[in-house]
């Protein structure tokens, strides 16, 4: 994580949604995307996190990454609460099609249907997909 001065920002609060679509390893999008989420929270913005498609694997329990020489960064998701990032949901269809349930995840999430997530998206100011 980089240095930042979160007490210097005194602007408006917007609704930022980060949509995580990709598996945690194989590409860097999930890891670098998580860095953006933390910085956005440090700016006191209204942050939501959505896991869809292979993105649901990002929050799967028991990730074992030594064999691919990558750092297992899934514990960082458990720190999100400390950054006041509490609006976290996963898409029901994505979990089901991958044989996953809430018990398989490292953090508690709200499980929403594709249609419900679509409604949430309509309410955002900024949506960024990683």
């Amino acid at each position: 994580m980089e240095d930042f001065e979160d007490d210097e920002f005194d602007g408006p609060i917007k609704k930022f949604m980060y949509v995580n679509r990709k598996a945690p390893y194989g590409t860097v999008y999930a890891l670098e995307g998580l860095e953006v989420v933390l910085i956005t929270a440090a700016f006191d913005q209204d942050v939501s996190l959505v896991f869809v498609d292979d993105g649901v694997f990002q929050i799967k329990k028991d990730q074992e990454t030594t064999g691919i020489n990558m750092k297992n960064f899934s514990p960082i998701y458990r720190a999100l609460e400390g950054y006041d990032v509490e609006k976290i949901c996963a898409e029901k269809e994505s979990l089901e099609s991958r044989g996953l349930s809430e018990d398989d995840l490292v953090i508690p999430v709200e499980i929403l249907s594709s249609a419900e997530i679509s409604e949430l998206m309509d309410a955002q100011d900024v949506i960024v997909t990683f």
């Binding site: 994580m1 980089e2 240095d3 930042f4 920002f9 602007g11 408006p12 917007k14 930022f16 860097v28 999008y29 670098e32 860095e35 953006v36 910085i39 956005t40 440090a42 700016f43 913005q45 100011d125 900024v126 960024v128 997909t129």
Partner: protein
């Protein structure tokens, strides 16, 4: 309208950087304001002044630099993503600056729209 632009892919391999450049240019020509262009992930490679494509190919790095010179567009390269990829101040083409991710968040706050160009 005020646009923030996020570029997530490097030049040449993906169309994303070309699309971002063309969108930015078109927006300015239509009288819109570009809050800044933020380069993240492999997008930081758009700032590498050593890029030297064949003469009959577009040089996206130079096109960005020209856009900054002509219209004062702010081109910000994420420091953490740049360091991972070996991009530092010595390699930066004209018009680019290295700064933090806060610049991306701020573009989202200030802008009316944040437009992402990625894979």
């Amino acid at each position: 309208m005020k646009f923030g632009i996020l570029v997530n892919e490097g030049p040449f391999t993906h169309q994303a950087s070309d699309s971002a450049y063309q969108f930015t240019k078109a927006a300015i020509e239509k009288g819109h304001e570009i809050v800044r262009v933020f380069f993240y992930h492999d997008g930081v490679n758009n700032s590498n002044k050593l890029a030297d494509p064949p003469s009959d190919d577009r040089n996206l790095v130079k096109l960005w630099s020209d856009l900054a010179a002509e219209h004062g567009v702010e081109l910000i390269v994420c420091v953490a993503a740049a360091m991972r990829r070996g991009i530092n101040d010595d390699l930066l083409a004209a018009g680019f600056k290295i700064s933090g991710l806060g610049q991306l968040v701020e573009a989202g706050i200030i802008g009316d729209r944040l437009v992402t160009f990625g894979d």
